[in-house]
């Protein structure tokens, strides 16, 4: 019982994160409010203004994969706590809380699937699990997804949503960048196609590693895609930021993504792309 009491005190000392934030189902674009089942039916896109709400990993998989084709891999994989990291709370406690809150083992769900009848490997990030941060578990799962795709010589489709590296794992979280990069190198050597869908937000260590190495990179409308986010750029350089700083639309204009694809179009778009890659392989 003592532990329980302590945990409550710990929580109180920590300032609340959501100071004055709107309900997650209230549209930040136009202020419309929806029931959860309404948003689910519209793929979590606001029917009024087209704002794309975040999508949890399992829901994203249901949106993209052909019914019943997804077979999860490495579901039991968990990050360890190599540094015995403790800030305001122990890292192990943060991990346990995130798992309780999201029902996920870490911020990436991966497995084999078919999209519009094309076999592929699918790796989907979930921002709700510690901000989609990349630690050892995310890096390992992505690396294994690359290896499975290379082995089966099927495309890998990755959907990213991440604030960057997971600080609580220190330098090992930074090392997930080269780890995922060398895994993409393997994928390329096997000539397995790699398609990346950048959703909001795709930033820092994830953007600066595997996410930017897709053969094709598409973004969701309005997604923040930046190595350094607007607040830090503003604070560090005191530069005046353009209104569309780091947004998908600006990334398209500067040549960093191939297309902006609305969520309703994403599955058919991926289907066409996979068909072009797979059917046309080796000039067939």
């Amino acid at each position: 019982m003592e532990e329980r009491i302590e945990a409550v005190i710990e929580d109180r000392r920590e300032p609340k994160d959501d100071g004055g934030a709107k309900h997650p189902n209230t549209c930040p674009g136009c202020g419309s409010h929806y029931r959860d089942d309404e948003l689910e039916a519209t793929l979590r896109v606001c029917p009024q203004c087209g704002h794309h709400f975040p999508v949890r990993a399992r829901e994203r998989i249901a949106q993209l994969a052909d019914g019943g084709t997804f077979a999860e891999a490495d579901a039991d994989l968990r990050s360890a706590d190599p540094l015995g990291f403790f800030d305001l709370k122990a890292y192990t406690e943060r991990l346990a809380q995130a798992e309780m809150a999201t029902g996920l083992g870490d911020a990436l769900v991966a497995g084999s699937a078919a999209i519009e009848r094309r076999a592929c490997e699918l790796a989907v990030m979930d921002f709700a699990f510690m901000g989609g941060s990349m630690g050892s578990a995310v890096g390992e799962k992505l690396a294994r997804a690359c290896e499975r795709a290379a082995e089966r010589r099927v495309p890998l489709v990755a959907v990213t949503a991440s604030g960057g590296a997971r600080m609580q794992e220190g330098i090992l979280s930074l090392m997930q960048m080269p780890k995922t990069v060398v895994s993409v190198d393997l994928l390329r050597e096997a000539r397995a196609p790699f398609v990346v869908v950048m959703s909001h937000p795709t930033t820092a260590g994830v953007l600066a590693s595997f996410a930017s190495l897709g053969d094709v990179i598409v973004a969701e409308p309005g997604a923040l895609i930046a190595f350094t986010g607007p607040r830090v750029v503003q604070q560090t350089t005191r530069e005046k930021l353009p209104d569309d700083f780091g947004l998908a639309e600006s990334n398209l204009r500067f040549g960093h993504v191939d297309a902006i694809v609305r969520r309703a179009d994403l599955r058919p778009y991926l289907g066409r792309l996979l068909a072009l890659f797979v059917d046309g392989r080796d000039g067939r």
Binding site: P15, D76, L77, R78, S79, A80, D81, P82, L83, F85, D87, L88, G135, S136, A137, G139, E140, A143, A165, M167, Q168, E169, G170, I171, L172, L174, M175, Q176, M177, P178, K179, V181, V182, S183, V184, D185, L186, T203, A204, G205, L207, A208, S209, F210, A211, S212, F227, T228, V232, V233, T236, T237, E239, L241, P242, F245, G246, F254, G255, H256
Partner: protein
């Protein structure tokens, strides 16, 4: 039975071996350079002990010391010749990264390193050692050149991080950091990287995907600056010391976690105290590391390099 060889050189090697056994640690450089045995012994004692929070913070301070040698200070002392190659062949020459061809201990090598400035003017010109995408593109062009001509690649890492600005973002900062890592991953020629000061986040790892990765004794290698980490996790940047103790950016911890392959000793007091000695020790470390990988078949080297980075991480299941 023949007498066992003796003498200070052998004694130093023994000490080194003892240390390696003691802590599963590899030490590079130092033999016959730093001079007398007692000095090396002290150095070894210093490196082999578990660092305290204060010592970790001391490393942070030394890694950022304004008199610490920068890339060009080392190049001047380690290399017999250096021809700088400038520009990314697309847009500009980013001065936060220097690149070129050098003669290093008898061979031609390609060299790429972050470069901080000494004077206010130079610091500004080199954007405090924080590269723009053009810097990584220049690095990649020189890496490709090295691969084409069969020159080993040496990189020196010393940056607070990639430049966090509007133009850098518009020019694709994240993407070029990713592609620079991929370029290093794919090289056929041998490569060795050494963190000589601040190994700050993605901006550092962009040029550190090498066959062997070393750190100088007082360098730091980290996912975020102590101040940044403190601001986010403690919500107070002044808790930087606490943050550094928690995420352990010092060389000894990086070695324990398998992130680096060896520690390059510095002269007593730190690299800033004696640039010449620091350069000799660094050259020794780089040469030893290069020697370990240079006879390998290029394809094997590439797959070993891939395996080295593939193995990093701690997880269950």
């Amino acid at each position: 039975m023949a007498a066992e060889p003796t003498g200070p050189e052998v004694e130093q090697l023994r000490l080194r071996e003892r240390l390696a056994k003691l802590r599963g640690m590899r030490l590079l450089g130092g033999v016959g350079v730093a001079g007398e045995l007692a000095k090396l012994e002290r150095q070894i004692e210093r490196i082999s002990a578990e660092p305290s929070a204060d010592e970790v913070w001391h490393s942070v301070e030394l890694a950022r010391h304004e008199d610490r040698p920068y890339t060009l200070d080392y190049v001047e002392r380690m290399c017999d010749d250096f021809v700088e190659l400038r520009g990314d062949r697309t847009f500009e020459d980013n001065r936060a990264i220097v690149a070129g061809l050098a003669r290093f201990r008898g061979r031609t090598v390609a060299l790429v390193g972050h470069q901080k400035g000494r004077t206010l003017e130079e610091r500004y010109e080199r954007s405090f050692g924080m590269p723009y995408p053009e810097g990584y593109r220049k690095a990649m062009r020189v890496m490709e050149l090295a691969d084409r001509h069969g020159f080993p690649l040496m990189t020196l890492v010393d940056t607070p991080g990639a430049y966090p600005g509007v133009r850098a973002e518009q020019h694709g900062q994240g993407g070029w950091i990713a592609r620079c890592q991929l370029a290093m991953a794919g090289l056929g020629v041998p490569s060795v990287a050494c963190v000589i000061g601040e190994g700050g986040s993605g901006g550092a790892v962009a040029i550190a995907v090498a066959d062997r990765v070393l750190m100088q004794e007082n360098a730091i290698y980290s996912v975020i600056s102590p101040e940044g980490c403190a601001a986010i996790l403690w919500r107070d940047a002044s808790e930087a010391k606490k943050a550094a103790a928690a995420f352990k950016p010092d060389a000894r911890h990086c070695l324990e976690l398998g992130v680096i392959d060896g520690i390059v000793p510095e002269p007593e007091g730190g690299a800033h105290a004696d640039h010449d000695a620091a350069a000799t020790l660094l050259a020794e470390g780089l040469e030893l590391a290069l020697h370990e990988v240079e006879d390998e078949d290029p394809a094997v080297r590439r797959s070993d390099r891939r395996a080295r980075f593939r193995a990093l991480g701690v997880f269950t299941g």
